[in-house]
Symmetry: C2
Subunit: 215 residues, 2 copies
């Protein structure tokens, strides 16, 4: 890669780190816990948040990133929580500045948890700090059980991972839940794992306990 | 975005266009048709190529891009066709130069089709020309039927789209195949659509006909 390209990328990354630190301070002062959800297109990020909005009591809001359209934000608003849409216009990940702009539209004093639904992508969002408390990875059964080995950059940075669409286990008899859990724990022994179906509600109780502070 | 960043990105893109043109000339002279497969992690790109290698007679080779590991290349080689692995080391898409390096390891005179399996990502790979004849989008039922609306940048550039994992239609009763086909044709009236299952073989016959020149 050309040296000038590396320099410019470094400087953009440095600006992002500074913006992320400012976000973190803003969230800390407002007493808001921020979770940054990262996963492939269609893995169930929006569905997990919809289910949470419907079934779990709490003061939540969501910043929803999409390359194009506000379809996900509309789905989330329909389930009854505040959603600030954020169309990236082609960019493959959210930046701290984008999140700041969207968060400023929200009344942070009215919420305890801010969920950031990142762009559907396992690669680019993993290295951009948005000022979150924790990155939350989402994988789903139909994607196959090799995702942790193939995208370690995300999973080594995430404090929690959803293994979603567990209701499809019979349809994917080769999917080795034990393997993916052991790959996750191999990267991070403290990884919090939720095995869920946002369709049937399976496993969502433990996630709600976590949100209610029961860990 | 800072002006210097735009300038450097422009210059990297310009280099990529030049390298893509050189690739195209190299492939044209060798009489190789090149298809660049782009889809989410776990949508079935590798499985489609494995099934094709096993069941369709032809002189094929594959360049397999992955951020980390050569797991997919190993799967493809096990099914009996030549696979050149290409670990991008963090980059979220292949570039024309990466493909050139991998293609130079292959004996192009021995093959008719070169499949490029891009990094699992619906965003970044869509705007990088690798010198292919055609971009081939792959979506799968579990991802949901809104992907064409959310990622038009890919589908407007692809000449063909696989709707894969059709064997799961009963498990996804809300998936509207008609809707996604109409979204695809809305972007490109000439879109060639294959409704397939690389697991059961459903719909793969039409793809094989295309490869054999029957369109």
């Amino acid at each position: 890669m050309a040296k000038e390209k590396i320099d410019v990328e470094e400087s953009a990354r440095k600006r992002n780190v500074e913006a992320a630190d400012r976000n973190r301070e803003m969230f800390r002062r407002a007493g808001v816990t921020v979770l940054n959800l990262i996963g492939s297109p269609g893995c169930g990020k929006t569905s997990i948040l919809e289910y949470t909005a419907r079934e779990c009591e709490g003061r939540f809001a969501v910043v929803v990133g999409d390359v194009k359209t506000a379809l996900d934000a509309e789905r989330i608003e329909a389930s009854g929580i505040i959603a600030a849409p954020l169309e990236t216009g082609g960019t493959c990940h959210l930046t701290a500045e984008m999140v700041r702009g969207a968060a400023q539209e929200l009344d942070l004093d009215e919420i305890d948890y801010l969920f950031i639904e990142n762009v559907g992508n396992l690669v680019c969002p993993s290295t951009f700090d948005l000022g979150e408390d924790e990155k939350v990875a989402v994988v789903s059964l139909p994607e196959g059980d090799d995702k942790v080995r193939k995208y370690p950059s995300l999973f080594s940075r995430a404090g929690m991972t959803f293994i979603n669409k567990m209701d499809l286990l019979d349809a994917f008899p080769d999917y080795d839940v034990g393997r993916i859990k052991s790959d996750l724990r191999g990267l991070r022994s403290d990884m919090r794992i939720f095995q869920t179906s946002a369709k049937t509600g399976q496993g969502m109780g433990r996630w709600f306990e976590y949100l209610r502070g029961g860990g």
